[in-house]
């Protein structure tokens, strides 16, 4: 059996030997290079753009400003959760008369190479009339705040209101009520490879665009629409891709501008985003303020949850529409059964880079808020925080369970699970029962250690469908075409394992083809941890149809009923005994002689998402003089129904944990009051290195397979990320119990802990 085995990845050989083909590695003759000129101001009116001197510069081939683009060009639309209300704040490929964030594209310059293009860019003179900026979502709602999009008339673009029961009424009757304000900072995926595109336009006006990722088929249609071309005149091709994590692969201004420039020049045009540009141009994520109120009894049973969320969207609405704030809201209650809930989320514009999704969108933020609140409730009542969790969990017998809220057009309905079990395992592994003793012994030695827990529910398997086409070639090799894309997560190996399992051939005999609109007829792509769940199920069914066909033909040849046969070890065997009946080398020529096509397609539809879950636990030590934090022990229990390749699942969990750690302690896309991004390079934006990421122990559970797909899988992409911040924050609070430090915002920088320790005197 191939499913369930930790097999080595098929992707790796090329990547290990320098044979990978990332978009920057491609080179075509006559190729030229584009540089995007971006606004240096957060908020300004463009008075004039003078490109004359640059136009005459050596090597310059083309300069584009908004006035060079078609008059009827539409802005970049929303891909997910679109809403007409938001359309007044969409982004055009080039700013027309006003810029709204530092990095807003204003002009494109194409030259023979990037060195020349950058030289010439310095000669473009743009006159700006600087306007007052607003860089804080709450301030942006004040009456005197500058309005970013006068047509919209307000910076509050959207209000999401979710409700179950009557939280306001319920709060009046609760024994205890806590009110807290919590904050998650701006940060993002920051893949190691920046974005890039290479567009070619031939004499017949046919375009080929390399460097697509994530949602290739969607962007294919959108590109055709915006460029006013037929869909069959454009081909999008995925190359190797240096990390996705959410931001990469969405349709950005450059996805219009680079193909447009190639059409104008009839030459290959390449654009590789540089790192400083990436920080300003590519989607940011995460920034939210929460004002939470919870009502509970003396046992820590929480009855009412009210939250007002301020979601910082940046200067424009990008492709995700209301996705992230909706998910924040709908997933905020997590694994707990709260009877009365009311959440209001304000989606607010500010003069900062627009935002989109980043691994665990909405859940990273909501999990931090909720799991901190659980520990605050416990601290208020002087109860064990793990016991407070236990008292509030949704129980297995309540499944399927709806929390009454909805996101992405679906009511949240958890399919199956036992949330208490993952906490139990975490407590055991971390030695929670004995920890108080350990902690006081450490304190006697002058060491501050603490242990924190955070439970979470993830979501995966976003529909509505995914496509697969599985074909067996005459030589017995299998081609699996999928609508998914590869962003480093290993879908090639995962799908090869699924096909191998169905067809009884080695997984190395399966070639997976993805991300080429000329080869794969349709697809929704890889995001929202949907790959194995939706795409994997499509491949399972397509390979299953092929299996049936092969067995039927073999049955005819062998003159036995098809259900007595199976595919195994590269041939047909008798199902009961496993004895070889007919090798593929004999069967395939028969199929060919009979003119039978061995190609099957399947589109797998799914109506509801599925919900993996788990628990993170962190043991930390703090240096009281410097505030420095060391992670002594880190554990993740994760139930995902079924792991197709446990090694890859572990890789996702640990890699995801490192990204969550970045968001918890280090990473911050920080703006000053005039809207300049002050952490816009790797010198100031700190990504965890091998010295900061601890050894992580993972426990992969398969106790509750998803009832919603044939594989029982629930997806592994985001569960490693979403609960890191509260696990560490709770551990810090636990380490400093007598100091009553208000840990309510991220990142958990050492200087904040040190300052807090200086100011706060022990309570006792």
């Amino acid at each position: 059996m191939s499913i369930g085995a930790s097999l080595k990845r098929l992707e790796d050989y090329n990547l290990l030997t320098g044979r990978g083909q990332y978009v920057g590695d491609l080179q075509f003759s006559d190729q030229c290079e584009a540089v995007i000129i971006r606004s240096p101001h957060a908020h300004a009116i463009i008075r004039s753009i003078d490109v004359e001197e640059a136009r005459g510069f050596d090597g310059v081939l083309l300069i584009l400003t908004a006035s060079d683009l078609p008059d009827d060009l539409r802005p970049i639309p929303m891909r997910l959760s679109p809403d007409p209300i938001l359309e007044k704040a969409l982004q055009y490929p080039l700013a027309k008369d006003r810029v709204r964030y530092v990095g807003d594209p204003v002009a494109v310059i194409v030259a023979k190479n990037r060195y020349m293009a950058e030289d010439a860019a310095d000669l473009i003179k743009i006159e700006y009339e600087v306007l007052p900026p607003v860089t804080d979502a709450v301030q942006s709602l004040e009456p005197e705040a500058p309005i970013l999009h006068p047509d919209a008339g307000t910076n509050e673009m959207y209000l999401i209101h979710g409700k179950k029961g009557d939280a306001a009424e319920r709060l009046k009757t609760c024994e205890h009520v806590l009110e807290e304000e919590l904050y998650v900072q701006r940060h993002s995926g920051i893949p190691m490879e920046t974005r890039g595109l290479l567009a070619l336009c031939d004499e017949d006006e046919r375009l080929t665009v390399y460097g697509a990722a994530k949602v290739v088929h969607f962007n294919h249609q959108l590109m055709a629409r915006l460029l006013n071309k037929n869909i069959d005149e454009i081909r999008l091709v995925e190359t190797d891709c240096g990390g996705g994590f959410g931001p990469r692969g969405e349709f950005y201004p450059e996805d219009y501008l680079i193909p447009f420039a190639a059409m104008r020049l009839k030459r290959p045009v390449k654009w590789i985003e540089d790192r400083l540009e990436h920080f300003k141009a590519t989607n940011h994520s995460r920034e939210q303020k929460h004002r939470v109120t919870v009502g509970f009894d003396g046992d820590g049973r929480i009855y009412a949850l009210r939250d007002e969320v301020f979601f910082d969207q940046g200067g424009y609405i990008r492709t995700h529409g209301t996705t992230v704030p909706s998910l924040t809201q709908a997933m905020l209650p997590g694994p707990y059964d709260f009877s009365d809930i009311e959440i209001v989320t304000h989606l607010v514009l500010t003069n900062k880079t627009p935002v989109g999704t980043y691994r665990g969108p909405g859940r990273f933020e909501g999990t931090f808020v909720r799991e901190r609140v659980i520990d605050m409730v416990a601290a208020h009542l002087k109860l064990d925080p793990t016991v407070v969790r236990e008292r509030n969990y949704i129980r297995p017998e309540q499944m399927p369970y709806s929390n009454g809220l909805s996101a992405l057009g679906q009511v949240i309905e958890y399919d199956s699970g036992d949330y208490a079990e993952t906490l139990d395992r975490a407590r055991k592994f971390m030695g929670w029962d004995e920890f108080a003793g350990k902690q006081s012994r450490a304190r006697q030695e002058g060491r501050f250690i603490g242990l924190g827990f955070a439970s979470f529910v993830e979501k995966s398997g976003f529909g509505p469908w995914e496509f697969a086409e599985v074909e067996m070639r005459p030589d017995g090799r299998v081609i699996c075409k999928t609508g998914l894309t590869e962003v480093g997560q290993g879908i090639t190996t995962t799908l090869a394992q699924i096909c191998s399992d169905q067809l009884g051939i080695p997984y190395g005999d399966v070639s997976v083809v993805h991300g080429d609109t000329a080869l794969v007829e349709k697809g929704n792509g890889s995001f929202a941890t949907r790959g194995a769940v939706v795409g994997g199920s499509a491949a399972w069914h397509a390979a299953g149809l092929l299996k049936e066909k092969l067995l039927n033909i073999a049955a005819g040849q062998l003159e036995v009923p098809a259900d007595m046969l199976a595919l195994k070890n590269g041939g047909v065997v008798y199902a009961e005994t496993g004895q070889a009946a007919m090798p593929l080398e004999e069967l395939l020529p028969v199929c060919s002689d009979l003119g039978i096509s061995l190609c099957e397609k399947y589109t797998f539809h799914i109506e509801h998402m599925t919900y993996p879950y788990g628990c993170h636990a962190a043991e930390v030590e703090l240096d009281p003089d410097t505030g420095a934090l060391q992670i002594l022990n880190y554990y993740i229990a994760y139930d995902l129904g079924k792991a197709i390749n446990p090694m890859l699942v572990e890789g996702q969990l640990i890699g995801g944990m490192a990204q969550g750690l970045g968001g918890a302690i280090y990473e911050n896309l920080k703006y000053d009051e005039i809207g300049q991004l002050v952490s816009g390079s790797f010198m100031d934006y700190l990504i965890p290195t091998s010295m900061e990421v601890p050894e992580v122990t993972t426990e992969i559970l398969e106790n509750y397979p998803s009832p919603l797909n044939p594989l029982g899988v629930k997806g592994a992409g985001e569960g490693g990320t979403v609960a890191v911040a509260p696990a560490i924050a709770n551990a810090i609070v636990n380490a400093l119990q007598e100091y009553a430090i208000p840990i309510t915002s991220l990142p958990l920088r050492p200087e904040r802990i040190r300052e807090a320790l200086k100011q706060m005197k022990p309570e006792r």
């Binding site: 080595k8 990845r9 992707e11 790796d12 050989y13 090329n14 990547l15 290990l16 030997t17 320098g18 044979r19 990978g20 083909q21 990332y22 920057g24 590695d25 080179q27 510069f57 050596d58 060195y115 030289d119 000669l123 995926g189 920051i190 893949p191 190691m192 490879e193 190797d240 891709c241 240096g242 990390g243 996705g244 994590f245 540089d274 790192r275 400083l276 962003v487 480093g488 997560q489 290993g490 090694m647 890859l648 572990e650 890789g651 640990i654 890699g655 995801g656 944990m657 490192a658 990204q659 390079s681 790797f682 010198m683 990504i687 290195t689 091998s690 010295m691 050894e695 992580v696 490693g720």
Partner: protein, 169 residues
């Protein structure tokens, strides 16, 4: 301005050895070594992730030391002996123990940081055949990886060190 361009366009001829092969090329003095390797020599295994020397994706070895090729001008590499990821396999195509280790231990996901990681780890194992996990972590701490959380990479380097020691015995 045109004068300045003419000056920066003035080409210099340099000779450098890359993966045991000698190349003589004309380069602008301002051209980065990473661009010389990638765009002129077409050795695209060396990746550029930040161009300010922090991420380590472009790490190569130059005269036996790991160096960020985005922080070196091509002209500074005149007469240098350079090894890139393409030079790690043996001539008969056998993978370097580190490449095997990364494959066995899931030391890569997207693979973008991998060439730089391999070159850095290669230098470590040449100087310390039996590093502790902590020493491995320290050695690769100048190379950012956004996918793996480093644990698989540390496992991979440990694996390779063991294999190389056994081979040496």
């Amino acid at each position: 301005m045109t004068e300045k361009t003419a000056e920066s366009n003035r080409l210099k001829t340099i000779t450098l050895k890359v993966n045991h092969k000698e190349y003589t090329v004309d380069v602008e003095p301002r051209m980065l070594l990473s661009d010389v390797l990638r765009d002129i020599l077409r050795l695209t295994g060396t990746h550029v992730g930040c161009e300010h020397g922090v991420c380590g994706a472009c790490t190569i070895t130059m005269d036996g030391r790991p160096v960020r090729s985005c922080l070196v001008f091509g002209v500074q590499a005149d007469q240098a002996d350079i090894v890139t990821v393409e030079g790690l396999e043996s001539e008969d195509g056998e993978l370097h123990p580190l490449q095997k280790g990364f494959w066995e231990k899931h030391g890569l996901q997207c693979g973008f940081c991998t060439p730089g990681m391999l070159m850095t780890a290669c230098h470590l194992l040449e100087h310390n055949p039996d590093p502790s996990r902590e020493e491995i972590r320290e050695a690769i701490s100048g190379n950012l990886c956004r996918c793996t959380g480093y644990q698989g990479i540390v496992d991979a380097v440990e694996y390779a060190a063991k294999e190389m020691r056994e081979r040496a015995e």
